[in-house]
């Protein structure tokens, strides 16, 4: 500490101001990319996003190697368990929902169904009623 004159900010704070801005800029590039209609501009923003993300990661790594960043403490296993169980249930329900909707929906032409073995054949005959409007699905 003695060779340096009065420092403007501690090293950690200096690095952090840059890191915080990199985080903000990364988000802005992501938004800009999603809001672009010109494919060239979109690709440009995507590339800038990737580079900014890489720089943010690089600075973060350097800061944690220099003990300038204390990472949050890890969660206990039960917390992960809780979330995992809950979201496995959600996933199951959503899968059921999707299957249900798919089987009751106006069935598309049999060719487009491809490998869907779930579609029951009898329903098909009913839907082939000539009075039914043609399905464009």
């Amino acid at each position: 500490m003695q060779q340096q004159q009065q420092q403007f900010l501690p090293d950690g704070d200096l690095a952090y101001t840059v890191l915080a801005d990199l985080k903000r800029v990364t988000r802005e590039y992501a938004t800009a990319a999603t809001e672009s209609s010109c494919p060239v501009v979109r690709q440009q923003f995507t590339q800038l996003l990737n580079t900014s993300l890489a720089m943010q990661g690089e600075l973060f790594t350097a800061m944690s190697q220099q003990q300038m960043y204390n990472t949050a403490s890890p969660v206990i296993r039960q917390e992960i368990d809780k979330q995992m169980k809950q979201y496995q249930q959600t996933q199951q329900k959503t899968n059921q929902f999707v299957q249900q909707r798919k089987s009751t929906a106006n069935p598309p032409s049999p060719q487009s169904y491809g490998g869907w073995a779930y579609q029951p054949a009898p329903q098909w005959q009913q839907q082939n009623n000539p009075q039914q409007p043609h399905s464009y699905m």
Partner: protein, 75 residues
Amino acid sequence: MNMQPLTAKELEYIADSMSNEDLLIKQCTAAALSCTNLQIQQVLMHQSQVHMQQYQTLLNCLQQHQGIAPTQPSS
């Protein structure tokens, strides 16, 4: 990829991004110079160069679109 004329939104994002990159160039340079930690200094010095490149990229993007921009507002 076919290039389309810039929309007002895209132009705003490009301009804002250049402001951001400009700030980061200065920030990285100033921070690197007053930083005593060598590893951090090295990273910041390198990154200020990258931000200069990013700034140039954005500027080039504007230039590319200048040619195909309409000269009158369309209804």
